[in-house]
């Protein structure tokens, strides 16, 4: 069943939002046309992608690169651009290049 949204009589005035931190519920990942893929074998866990990601979509566990948050990654490609580590054959794409590479969303 689709989510029931508030009618104009029910909606908060002027779009005020009363729940702090609720932007996490907004899955901006649906905007993405290209997504980053990551080669865990060659990653040095330097975390430069984590520093640069404007959407906090790089998930880190125990100080190590863990995953992309694809619910919020908009596919901007900054992580792939700043990734300093090279690979000869990427784990996912098989292509020579960086540890983080961009692929079309449907690939």
């Amino acid at each position: 069943m689709p989510e029931q949204k508030a009618t104009w009589k029910e909606a908060n005035i002027a779009g005020l939002v009363f729940e702090p931190g609720s932007s996490a519920e907004y899955n901006t990942g649906t905007w993405r046309t290209r997504r980053p893929v990551h080669d865990m074998n060659k990653c040095t866990h330097c975390m430069i992608c984590w520093v640069y990601c404007p959407d906090s979509a790089v998930i880190v566990r125990d100080g190590r690169w863990a995953a992309f948050d694809y619910d919020h990654c908009k596919g901007c490609g900054i992580c792939a651009s700043v990734c300093p580590i090279k690979t000869e054959a990427h784990e996912h794409t098989g292509k020579e290049g960086k540890v983080i590479q961009m692929v079309l969303e449907e690939e």
Partner: protein, 397 residues
């Protein structure tokens, strides 16, 4: 008993007195002729410690309205003042203030928009802002500009509305023209306006709230509908507050200030100071047996459509005088004519309406002009035909 002091004030100083007595939490403003006297006088009150207001001297009108939005979001009672190009520079933030449902009150001293550069009165500034979501009250005299500001505070802060209000007066003609103003007792003003406690505030850390949120296709439409709903409720609030003001201070305010309209065949509709000239002329014509009346709207936003139809019942010919042009609109008409015409059509009125553009950039309108309008109207009423729909008063042809 109402305590008031009779003073000789120009409209701008009357507005500054009103702001002093309202004692807003925040005023952010930038000076521009002919509003300067308001901001300059009010900033002196701040410097002299006569008000508790935080006065923000900003770098532009865009910044002035932006600061007002911030201060009002923080729950403050907020005011500003501007004119002409200053109002134009606020445009973007006018919409944000209204759409954010912030009860900001602004004193506007009507002045022509450039170019060519002209500092004198017409209504192109506030008429250009007519769709921004603000309530608009027009004042004929300094007294009205003064009284309207107190009512504007009550109207804008009404919980059903939470809409910003701009109060207009005519630049120089009213703004710099000295007239009699009954200045109310400070404490009586405070009793009338009461204290303002915003329901939501940026500074309420116990109830963290996001203001100015991202609003996509799934909700923006609903929020716009809420705004039209608030506007539709505004007329009753404006009437109620005007009535209460009258009961408290002896000067009642409604949607119109009409003169001799009830049994009239002919009617003239005009805003602000020109209503004074028109009233004098209508009185003279009435004495000569012409069945003519004057309808001066005080409220332009929300537009009193049904109220116009009701007020003009029985009128055969009506002239709408516009002190601005809606360029490219039907026959180059003025904005008030366009809306009055639409209201009359939608309301099934049989009255013939004609438009007169007048007084652009401070061009004088004199009793002879009004008499010309009356004479034209008589011909329209007698023949049932409109020879010229959009006309110009005082233009060299």
């Amino acid at each position: 008993m109402v305590v008031s002091t009779r003073m000789a004030l120009d409209g701008a100083h009357a507005a500054a007195h009103a702001m002093r007595q309202i004692n807003p939490d925040v005023v952010a403003a930038y000076p521009i002729t002919p509003q300067t006297a308001i901001v300059q006088t009010f900033s002196q009150y701040v410097a002299d410690g006569e008000v508790d207001t935080e006065f923000i001297a900003v770098e532009s009108e865009h910044a002035a309205m932006s600061a007002c939005v911030g201060a009002a979001s923080a729950g403050g009672r907020v005011m500003t003042a501007t004119a002409a190009n200053g109002l134009a520079l606020m445009w973007e933030i006018l919409y944000i203030a209204a759409s954010s449902r912030l009860p900001i009150v602004m004193s506007v001293v009507n002045r022509a928009l450039s170019a060519p550069l002209n500092i004198h009165c017409d209504h192109s500034d506030s008429m250009g802002a007519r769709d921004a979501g603000w309530i608009q009250l027009y004042s004929e005299t300094g007294q009205e500009a003064y009284d309207n500001l107190f009512q504007a505070v009550r109207i804008s802060e009404h919980p059903d509305l939470l809409l910003p209000v701009m109060v207009m007066q005519d630049g120089f003609i009213t703004g710099h023209g000295v007239g009699r103003v009954d200045v109310l007792d400070d404490s009586a003003v405070q009793d009338f306006i009461g204290t303002y406690k915003a329901k939501h505030s940026l500074l309420d850390v116990d109830h963290p709230t996001t203001f100015g949120s991202w609003d996509m296709y799934d909700y923006y439409f609903e929020h716009k509908r809420q705004q039209t709903d608030a506007m539709s409720k505004a007329m009753k609030v404006i009437v109620d507050v005007g009535k209460e003001f009258g009961e408290t201070f002896g000067r009642s305010y409604g949607i119109f200030d009409s003169y001799a309209v009830d049994d009239a065949d002919l009617a003239i509709i005009v805003l602000s100071s020109t209503a004074g000239t028109a009233r004098t002329t209508v009185k003279k014509l009435r004495a000569e047996g012409v069945k003519i009346g004057l309808l001066k709207p005080r409220v332009f936003r929300p537009f009193p459509a049904q109220e116009f139809v009701d007020a003009l019942k029985g009128v055969k010919a009506v002239a709408v005088l516009d002190r601005s042009v809606s360029f490219g609109a039907m026959y180059g008409a003025g904005p008030m004519f366009l809306e009055v015409s639409a209201a009359l059509f939608a309301g099934g009125s049989q009255a013939k309406a004609v438009n007169y553009i007048y007084g652009l950039r401070g061009r004088d309108v004199i009793p002879e002009h009004i008499e010309q309008v009356a004479s034209d109207l008589q011909e329209v009423a007698d023949t049932g035909k409109v020879k010229s729909l959009v006309n110009y008063l005082g233009l060299r042809e």
